[in-house]
């Protein structure tokens, strides 16, 4: 079996060989930066050297045909150097300011919007959805596309009070830190999984399956003479953890699956400490290909924040200042029993004072 030529455990290529000379020369010695226009900034070194960055949105799901086009643009304008950001944008790194406009035009002609810097909506970080994930309650790329087809002017302009970070996850696994976003769009399951009792004993380890349930709702059971499990419906919170360890416990459900919306989270420590996103809308229907209810809800939240927040105030900081009752009032959202936490530590979220605005 052994292969003498087999190379393993080499780790990633060293980043240094991908750094343009201007970065090597000014590494750790940048003096300041300025945002020149939407999607374009300059970093100035202590040496006086300038590095220009043009940022464009990608759909994250990218064809190699597109990556080759980006490589061609990097050759044409940036001596071959480029990078990607933590929010799935591509950044071209230039030393010649005069090339910015031509590069921007080429990107726009190819369909990749330039923006996402400063007080704007940056790219939506998102998950795989129906393109590739087993536990997706909805599609990811499709919902993101529908939302940004509507909100893209806030990517291409810097017309917001502060930064707005939207994240999308297609199930409660929340790949991608949607739990700390200004607006989090989250696929949810709402039905107890169905069980394939014929298949289950063949493909799943029952003890692992039972212990996977955070609420202890899965019990061993014999069904038609076969060893299987049963689920106590009232204790199921539709997390889908059981489905991840056992494909015979089917969480996906065309009727029950939908989308929830959460607000006011952040990861940055600027001003306010990092915060989790909190529930704004418990359930919206899954309505491909345009998800109009979701797009409308997200757009309304952006609008109400834009109109009411002070400069630099993130969604969560604004809500904290005005208070949640006021938020539900001016965002015109119904407050329901689902908004009150009933999981671990729920009591920490109860109001325990008379500080109430009448």
């Amino acid at each position: 079996m052994s292969n003498p030529e087999r190379i393993t455990d080499i780790g990633p290529p060293h980043y240094e060989k991908f750094l343009p000379p201007v970065i090597k020369d000014n590494y750790g010695k940048w003096a300041y930066h300025e945002v020149l226009k939407p999607g374009t900034m300059v970093h100035v070194g202590e040496s006086g050297d300038k590095l220009f960055t043009v940022r464009a949105a990608t759909p994250r799901l990218m064809a190699i045909a597109t990556i080759r086009k980006f490589a061609d643009l990097a050759d044409k304008y940036c001596d071959g150097y480029l990078r990607f950001t933590s929010r799935n944008n591509v950044e071209f790194l230039l030393t010649d300011e005069k090339k910015i406009d031509a590069l921007t035009k080429d990107l726009l002609d190819l369909g990749y919007l330039v923006g996402g810097i400063g007080n704007s909506i940056s790219n939506i970080v998102h998950t795989q959805g129906w393109v590739h994930c087993h536990s997706a309650a909805t599609d990811a790329s499709g919902v993101v596309k529908a939302i940004m087809d509507d909100l893209h002017p806030h990517f291409s302009n810097m017309d917001l009070p502060g930064k707005l970070r939207i994240a999308f996850a297609c199930c409660l696994n929340m790949c991608g830190a949607v739990h700390c976003s200004d607006i989090a769009v989250l696929g949810v399951h709402t039905k107890v999984p169905s069980i394939d009792h014929d298949e289950l004993p063949k493909v799943c380890e029952i003890p692992t399956l039972i212990s996977s349930c955070p609420t202890g709702a899965i019990r061993p059971a014999t069904v038609d003479g076969k060893k299987s499990v049963e689920i106590e419906g009232p204790n199921c919170m539709y997390c889908g953890n059981c489905y991840t360890v056992c494909p015979s416990v089917k969480i996906n459900n065309a009727e029950g699956d939908g989308i929830s919306i959460w607000v006011g989270g952040k990861v940055s420590n600027a001003r306010h400490e990092p915060m989790f996103s909190k529930l704004a809308i418990p359930f919206l229907p899954n309505n491909p290909p345009h998800w109009p209810e979701v797009v409308e809800a997200v757009a309304a939240l952006v609008k109400v924040w834009k109109e009411n927040a002070k400069k630099h105030e993130r969604m969560g900081e604004w809500i904290e200042r005005i208070g949640w009752p006021k938020f539900f009032e001016i965002a015109d959202l119904p407050f329901t029993r689902y908004h009150i936490d009933d999981f671990k530590h729920a009591g920490e979220t109860f109001k325990r004072s008379t500080h109430i605005k009448h």
């Binding site: 190379i7 393993t8 455990d9 080499i10 780790g11 990633p12 290529p13 980043y15 991908f18 750094l19 970065i23 940048w30 300041y32 970093h43 949105a57 759909p59 990218m62 064809a63 990556i67 980006f70 490589a71 150097y81 480029l82 990078r83 990607f84 933590s86 799935n88 369909g111 919007l113 795989q128 129906w130 590739h132 087993h134 909805t138 599609d139 993101v144 596309k145 529908a146 940004m148 893209h152 790949c175 991608g176 830190a177 739990h179 700390c180 996977s212 953890n241 991840t244 996906n252 065309a254 990861v267 420590n269 600027a270 001003r271 306010h272 990092p274 989790f276 290909p289 671990k344 530590h345």
Partner: protein
């Protein structure tokens, strides 16, 4: 088969529009039968409002326990080309820097062996190749490693670390995030490729508390740059900013969370002993203000998304650590955590949940750290203290 073209009326409806189109991306590779079938499955999901992928199965490359995620289609009879449609994670270079040559090399490999579809990048930071047959995994791996790339992590392993752009292009980086990320990744290759932990363990490296890689929310160990001494002030640039319309009082002083700033219309005074290094003032005035010179990082642990026991933000473990090259202190701390959690953690229990279960005080004692008030938002309010005498009596 290769001539068939799947009808996609629903997907076609969302193909246009201003935002970059994932449907166009998929169609750009649709000369491959595999991608035709992917379009067919996706169109079906849009019709039926349900996914058609199955998780699991032990697939991978020889000698590795991770890096490949098994993915199968439950409509394989109808769409056989995506019956096996595995994900390959490839460890990205620090900071997601590339040159055109490296990107073309990756494209050539994926052109020959897979769907031609990627994620740039996955949620954890890897380059993701979407849609590989089992038979093609070894050839892809062979070509990747010959080109200098290696797989990323999956399963109960150290996951692929990631970092912000750091000193490569940011004046706020308080330590070398790219070097630290690369060093940790290279130092723990075995832990990355061969899952042996109770569950996943993620590292993320941010150069300042703006935390551009969301380390505090998305990692088990967040290394966030900070400083100990005074914010560097250029009073001339302060005056320029004020003259150019920045309302220093309203936008800087009034928004400072520790109220440590005073602006008399000409000069900014900062009481640095009160500063919590939040970065707000520096963010607003990058020409006038800079982090101090005595730089390092705060080490925090235990962040995670909700599954299984609820979401957690990272908690402070080391308020200030010098980030000297080699990172011996961070590595020593990491190995102490892995030893303890590796031995006592339950299956699928993240380190943050483990700390909650055994108690932070016990955790600190076991890994050899002294408790300090920077680790808590406030001391306990309940009187049910497990005094150590009691414990020692029990032990004897």
């Amino acid at each position: 088969m290769s001539d068939k073209k799947v009808a996609t009326p629903l997907l076609d409806k969302i193909e246009g529009g201003a935002w970059p189109s994932f449907i166009k991306e998929i169609k750009a590779e649709a000369h491959r039968p595999m991608v035709q079938d992917l379009l067919g499955v996706l169109e079906r999901s849009y019709e039926e409002r349900i996914g058609h992928w199955k998780h699991g199965g032990l697939v991978g490359v020889m000698g590795y326990g991770g890096g490949v995620i098994g993915r199968y289609c439950d409509l394989a009879d109808e769409f056989p080309e995506v019956g096996e449609f595995h994900t390959i994670r490839i460890n990205q270079p620090s900071g997601w820097f590339y040159n055109s040559e490296a990107l073309r090399t990756l494209c050539d490999i994926w052109d020959e062996h897979g769907s031609g579809l990627t994620n740039m990048h996955g949620s954890t930071g890897d380059i993701v190749f979407l849609g590989c047959r089992t038979s093609e995994l070894e050839p892809v791996f062979d070509k990747l490693t010959k080109a200098g790339f290696d797989l990323g992590g999956s399963g109960s392993a150290m996951r692929t670390p990631s970092c912000c752009v750091g000193p490569a292009r940011c004046e706020w980086a308080c330590y070398d995030t790219l070097d630290a990320c690369n060093d940790i990744t290279q130092s723990f290759q075995d832990e990355l490729h061969r899952p042996m932990f109770p569950y996943k363990y993620k590292f993320k490296f941010s150069g300042c508390s703006n935390d551009c890689v969301a380390s505090i929310a998305r990692s088990d160990c967040a290394v966030i740059g900070t400083w100990k001494d005074e914010i560097q002030i250029d009073q001339k640039e302060m005056a320029v900013a004020a003259k150019n319309g920045t309302d220093i009082q309203a936008e800087i002083c009034d928004l400072c969370p520790s109220g440590c700033m005073n602006w008399d219309g000409k000069k900014l005074d900062i009481n640095d002993a009160e500063c919590v290094k939040c970065m707000h003032c520096i963010n607003v005035l990058p020409k006038a203000l800079k982090p101090g010179k005595e730089r390092g990082a705060t080490i925090l642990v235990g962040g995670k998304a909700p599954i299984i026991g609820g979401a957690l933000l990272c908690a402070v473990l080391v308020p200030f650590l010098e980030m000297k090259k080699g990172y011996d202190d961070l590595k020593e701390l990491t190995e102490a955590i892995w030893d303890l959690w590796g031995e006592h953690g339950k299956n699928r229990e993240r380190v943050g949940e483990f700390i909650q279960r055994i108690g932070l005080s016990n955790f600190l004692e076991q890994i050899g750290l002294e408790p300090v008030p920077d680790m808590i938002s406030h001391p306990r309010t309940n009187p049910y203290i497990f005094f150590e005498d009691e414990l020692e009596d029990d032990d004897e």
